[in-house]
């Protein structure tokens, strides 16, 4: 029996079942455990399998979906303060393939659609609180990015800028937390000589932290190839070019949370509707052309403005 199916059947019981549901920690899928694969944190293969279950799937040829809600703040070093800027909907799609028992690969596409702070609408213009100027936001679209996951870690390939570093996992009270940090810098494609108003400076600096949280019972359930996982992230990144900060000191602080779903059908309708309407290419990956990122797209559609 499909353990998810049996779980869904139980859920259909409605209010009367609520007491039963209350016994499960957040996110636990539940269902019968026909075989267990213990999560031994000293076993790199066990950790790799749990990691793939959290961020994607052990199945071959299956696509995984993750949606997050982010809140972006601007840091002003002049007065050491953070100011609310805008919010965003992050949509991450990964297409998984199983190479062998200890190697899985995925192809990733990701976008962020900006919205007014804590509101569900598209951010059509943004009045930059630091410059006072009203500017046109530019949502970002990234991909494809090829990643290989093995017991040794995640290899993002030479073209990728993000190099995730696994941190210590935690297991407490039936919950597993998997934190990952990443820090890097690279020469800014939006160089300040050509793009004096749009460039954040000669280097892009990126510091991020992402956390996946899942139920230990689900991860140890050998019947499950994937689990529902909560995620939580923080990113500290030099200014995006569309903010037109003109080399001003400071950075963007993004704080977000979301969920890796069991299937696309679980994506809530509000973000799904906005994403479909505004980033349709994320829903037609077969027609995707070339490699995209926010810097390439920016230089393609925008022109340098005078300071």
């Amino acid at each position: 029996m499909d353990p998810l199916l049996s779980r869904r059947s139980a859920l259909a019981g409605g209010v009367g079942m609520a007491a039963g549901l209350g016994t499960l920690p957040p996110l636990e899928i539940g269902g019968p455990v026909l075989a267990r694969e213990p999560l031994d944190l000293d076993d790199p293969i066990a950790k790799m399998r749990a990691k793939v279950k959290m961020i994607g799937t052990l199945e071959d040829g299956v696509t995984s979906h993750r949606v997050s809600r982010g809140y972006v703040y601007g840091y002003n070093p002049d007065d050491d303060s953070f100011t609310r800027f805008y919010s965003m909907i992050n949509y991450n799609v990964t297409q998984w393939s199983r190479v062998n028992d200890v190697t899985h690969r995925y192809k990733m596409h990701e976008c962020a659609l900006y919205t007014p702070f804590d509101e569900w609408d598209v951010l059509k213009t943004f009045q930059n609180p630091f410059t006072g100027e009203t500017i046109e936001p530019m949502s970002y679209v990234i991909g494809p990015l090829e990643v290989e996951v093995t017991p040794e870690g995640s290899d993002t390939g030479p073209e990728a800028t993000i190099k995730p570093i696994n941190m210590d996992w935690q297991v407490m009270d039936g919950t597993v937390w998997m934190p990952v940090q990443s820090e890097f810098s690279f020469p800014n494609p939006i160089n300040p000589e050509k793009w004096p108003k749009e460039s954040s400076g000669p280097e892009v600096k990126w510091n991020s932290f992402i956390l996946f949280t899942a139920a230990l019972n689900d991860l140890e359930n050998a019947e499950l190839t994937k689990v529902r996982a909560l995620n939580h992230y923080q990113e500290n990144v030099t200014w995006a070019p569309w903010l037109e900060m003109g080399g001003r000191p400071g950075f963007s602080l993004s704080r977000g949370f979301g969920m890796k779903f069991l299937s696309m059908s679980e994506i809530p309708p509000e973000p799904l509707t906005l994403l479909r309407a505004n980033v349709p290419e994320m829903f037609d990956l077969d027609s995707w052309q070339g490699i995209r990122n926010n810097y390439r797209d920016f230089m393609k559609v925008r022109r340098p403005k005078p300071v």
């Binding site: 209010v15 007491a19 407490m172």
Partner: protein, 319 residues
């Protein structure tokens, strides 16, 4: 499934209009959820102020008269603005405990304490001392214990700021829209405060981070919708995440050097018996006062502790 993504008092009317109903958690919403593939049907109308009140207390504390425990792990970096870089600083073992009681006037009362034990970054080894990389000094680490922070929660005034009542309170959390995703409700809030530093730099040139202290934080709780809907569940064992960007701690003796500590943490509420024994042993050794709360009456935080137990040190190079 309650698959509506955004729910709060502010947008309830707009959402209700959109669905042509007085409640976003309406049969229409259920139907929408069912079509999404996750089948669930719980009776929870979060546009009802009473339901929202109870949901918030279930997630952050308890509707029952009991002690609530929350355990977290944090990772802390030093942000250095001159190089825009982040240096690993420490890990944290956070423990928050709150005692919930019911007053005769129908209000809920809480008495909350919090502690943190500094650990060497990414290890389970306690950080007893820390070598300041800028001065070469080795300083003694001060594991902090804060409290009691008292709160009163009135079911008849549910959307008022009913948090801590201490004069010393600095964090005033602003609730953001609750988000409903699959079987989980997320409750985020942020806080940005800038206040006069209790340790003024003219008196405490080494321990003070400046005339003003900046404290920016973000905390989020996530709980199962079913727990919030179930009247038999008085306390939802919620997951929690926090992020803090704050100025240097006094014991670091960083003076007014620019920069901040960036803390990122995660944890959950749990019953006392579920807290790992190693953590309890470290609490007993380093912050035992948080386990002896009957004897803890006066408010204490890391600044008050520092001023009470330490002496100002002269600036470096002066004796």
């Amino acid at each position: 499934m309650l698959n509506k993504f955004s729910v709060d008092r502010r947008n309830a009317m707009n959402s209700a209009a959109a669905f042509g109903t007085a409640s976003i958690f309406s049969p229409q919403a259920f139907a929408m959820g069912r079509s999404s593939g996750i089948v669930d049907s719980v009776d929870l109308d979060l546009s009802d102020p009473k339901v929202r009140f109870e949901a918030k207390l279930k997630v952050r504390g308890s509707l029952a008269e009991e002690t609530v425990h929350r355990v977290s792990t944090g990772h802390v970096w030093m942000y250095l603005p001159e190089t825009h870089s982040y240096e690993p600083f420490c890990s944290l073992e956070n423990y928050q405990v709150s005692e919930w009681t019911h007053a005769k006037d129908g209000t809920f009362r809480s008495r909350m304490f919090e502690s943190a034990i500094y650990m060497k970054f990414g290890t389970d080894e306690v950080m007893e001392t820390w070598e300041n990389p800028f001065t070469g000094e080795t300083v003694e680490v001060h594991h902090y214990a804060i409290g009691p922070m008292r709160g009163t929660y009135n079911p008849d005034s549910i959307d008022s700021d009913s948090g801590a009542e201490n004069d010393e309170r600095v964090i005033i959390a602003k609730d953001m829209n609750w988000q409903l995703v699959a079987d989980t409700v997320y409750m985020p809030s942020d806080s940005s405060v800038f206040y006069k530093n209790p340790l003024q730099p003219d008196k405490w040139p080494r321990a003070s981070a400046g005339e003003f202290f900046g404290w920016d934080s973000f905390i989020m709780f996530a709980a199962k919708v079913a727990d919030l809907a179930n009247p038999g569940v008085k306390q939802a064992m919620a997951q929690s995440w926090y992020q803090e960007n704050i100025r240097w701690q006094p014991w670091m003796l960083m003076g007014e050097r620019p920069g901040r500590l960036v803390a990122r943490g995660f944890g959950k509420k749990m019953r006392w018996d579920a807290i790992p024994v190693d953590r309890i042993k470290r609490i007993e050794k380093y912050v035992p006062e948080v386990l002896d709360r009957d004897s803890w009456l006066d408010f204490q935080n890391e600044f008050l502790w520092y001023m009470r137990t330490q002496e100002p040190r002269p600036p470096l190079g002066k004796s």
